[in-house]
Structures are given as structure tokens and as C-alpha cells.
Amino acid sequence: MIQLFGKSAELQLEKDVSSRYLPIVISAMVFLAALSISGMFSLSDAISNWSSTLSENLTVEIAYDPSANLDQKVTDAVELLAATPGVSAVRAIETEETLKLLEPFLGKSSIIAELPIPRLIEVIIEDDSAIDLLALNEKLAAAVPGAKLDTHRPWLDKMTLLGRTIQLLAAGVMVLVGTVTVIIVIFAVRTGLIMHSEVIEVLHLIGAKDGYIAEQFQNYYSRLTFLGALPGLAVAIIIMIIFNFLVGSLEASMLPSLALGWKGLSALILLPVLVTLLTKYTVRHVVLKNLSQMM
């Protein structure tokens, strides 16, 4: 690993007490960043799933009316929907099935069967169908009094808004983590510059360019960052696996598991490299700026 980043042969930065705990801080920062990334990508996937599932699935509700023939209304509605271009499948949900859906909320009781329960029809529309749901709803209401098309849109909109808000918060955490990391690195480098000012002066006076000195700083701090980032990422991945296991065992279908997809996984794998690059260029900038103030 030392060969990968080079050694600070003249400055002996490896012996600095001031930067000894930097890997621990970087580890914590990478841990938080990894969780933020997984949150962002998982929510993105979850929102797309909700959106695509609920956009394809519609429900037609026919209000309970003791004076009307509900079975006939269901048949009429199914015929109308099946004849509508863009609708791929129509299925009338039997009363028994509807009652079963209510069991988790109302319990098993024969009284439920006497409740004024609406009749439901499940409608599946074709992918990328340009169907006008508003027009279909009006047509359905006119043909079958009491029928209403439920697109789940208000619920989906609220869930999407919640998801996007959490994604924004996660992105905010990422920015915060990046900023804090940069600030910590700046302070550590400035301390190093002060501690090694005498050697730096000697190196300058025997002809060292600023870049030669900056390289020793950036190699050392990049190495510390990379070594700190790896355990931080490993712990974050372990936490994600535990979270997924708990989500799976709860069978909470609405709670998204941390499924990152290939984009999320790539971002996670690249995280230590990106943090190392961020450190490298921060260190280089700070060192060169400070050295430029010397003769």
C-alpha cells in the first residue's frame, strides 16, 4: 500500500502525531456517506417500482347500492373496460375476495358480509399506454352509475414526494460529510506544514519545487484516507446486510430494502477512491497555497 502512494522520504510525515487519528475520522465519514448513498439509490429504485406498479394497476370501485343489481353493473363495467384500447387485462374481484382483504382490519366475522361493501374491478393497462384516465373515468361513470376509477395517484404522489425528500436529505448528508472531510484534512495538513517547516525550508533551499513537497503530503494523506475509507465502507455494508435481513424478516412490503442496483453498487465501490481523490487534491491545493507564501 505504501508503494501505491509513495513514501514521504524527507518529511517523515508517517511519524506525525497530528494525523494519526485521521483514518478513524475518515472511516466514520465514509460510513455515513455509504449509508447516504445506499439510501439515495434504494429510494430511487423503490420510487420507480411504486410508480411503475401503481401506474399499470388501476382499480374500479362500484359503490354499494341495495336497490341496484351490482353484478350487472360489474359485468357492464368489465365489458366497457375490456373494449377500451390500452387496457391489457380486466378482472372482477369477487365479494369473498374483497371480504378477505378486509379481514386483517376487521377480523373474521359473518357480520362483515352484511356490510355495504363496494364491488371492485382490477384493471391492468399496457406498458407505455397513452390511455386518458380522466376520459375513461367519465365514460365509466356515465355508462355504469356509481363506478369510479381509482388511479392511486394521490397516494403515489405523496409517497414519491416523501421519497424524493429523503433522497434530498441523503444528498445533503453527503455534501456535509464531504465538507467536514475537507475541513479536517485542511487542518491536519496545516499542522503538518507547521511541524515540518524547517525541513521544508531546507528542501526549498536545495532546489526542491513546491510540487515535490506537495507530492509527499498528498501521497501520505491519500494513503491515510484510503486506509480509513475501507473499514468505514465495510462496516456500512455489514449494516446494510443486517438492515435488509431485518426488513425481509418483517415482511413489510412497503418498507424498501437497501437494494442498490448496479449504479448504487458502483457508487459504493468508488466511494473510497473518490474520497481519496478529494483528499489528494485538497491536500495539494492547501500545500501549494501555503508554500507560495514562503520565499
Partner: protein, 232 residues
Amino acid sequence: MVRFENVGMRYGMGPEVLRDISFHLRPGSFHFLTGPTGAGKSSLLKLLALSHRPSRGLVTLFKREVSSLERDDLPGFRRKIGVVYQDFRLLDHLSALDNVALPLKIAGAKNEQIYQHVAELLEWVGLGNQVDAKPPTLSGGEKQRVAIARAIINRPQLLIADEPTGSMDAEMGLRLMHLFLELNKIGTTVVVATHDLDMIERFGNPVMYLKDGLLSSKAPNTSTETSDETDA
């Protein structure tokens, strides 16, 4: 080679430590710089070593006026100057070999060339058996020789030495001065700052005498005057 014209120098907002310094050093000349403690010798050497800039006046080194140098020009100019510091300024964690090799390494020379030259030079200054020793294990005289070897490894055009014989006995001091003379014979311009008036007398080279920040051409208690090479 080196030209100072009405040069003044101060540290921060403090008083001037050098005032109206004017002189010209020709290439291949050898000069002593002397004066009482606090006269400004080290400050003058700092200007020569491009460690500091003058507060006023013109300093010309290698035909370039120092204030016109860009930051990127400085390393190239400093590589033409070898400096032997009074306190050696060696890197304690590096061996004598690595300390001496440092200017070549910084200049980007290849490793094979570096270590062949360095080993030969250390042999020449009498430290052939101490190449792996680190400065804390060396005596004052040995450190001084490592510092001198580091200063001359790049074949500098200008060699500056601040009290180079201050930390060694008279015999070793004399040997080092002969080393400087050898370097001077092969064309290096040498400036040696010293309090040792006997040594100045013995070698008879031109003297720059500093007192209260002002330069004069003759040191008290010596018969040596500034030659026409030094237009003090």
C-alpha cells in the same frame, strides 16, 4: 555572478539589518565575509542563498535580478547555489549518503548516477566509512563535512558557507578551507562567513566586513583588503 546595489533588508516591520550594501563578486572568486555578531552576516547570506528577498535595492544573481524571478524560477537558481549552514541543517532520519544525495534526487537525477557520485564525494571528504551513519551519530566535524558534501554535490556555481569551521578543531578547519580552495580552483565562486580573523589572514582572500548592517572593504586587525573583484 553576484551584484548587490544599494540593498537594504529588514525582517517584517523591524529595523533594517542591512543598509546600502553594494558589491560585485566575479565568477570564480573567493571572499570572506566577517564582522561582529549581529552585524548582518547571516542576513547577507540569506539574500545570497535566495532564502529571503531584499527590502530595497537590487540583487542580481547569475545575470537575473532577484525581484524579477518568478516562483517557478527559484528552484533552478537555488540548484546553482550550495549552502553550508552553521547548524548544518541535515535531515536526522536520513543517512549521510541520503543527505548528500538529496539535491541530486530533487533535481531528478537517476539513482545509479546519484549513489555513485555521492559515494565518491563522501570518500573525498573523508567519510567513506560513514556513508550509512545518521547525523545524530556523527561528530560536529563529520556533520559539517556531510553538509559541505551536500552543498557541493550539484557542482554549484556559488558556494556559501556560514561559519563552516566553527564546530571543529583548527586542523579540521584548515582541511575544510583547503577543500573550499580546491572547489574555487575548479571555478566555484565561494563566500565564507567567519569570525576567525587568523584564518582570513592566513588565506589572504578578499574580505567583506560588515558592521551594523553596513559593508566596508577592510576588516580591522587584518591587512587583507577587498580586491577589485569586490567593489564594496
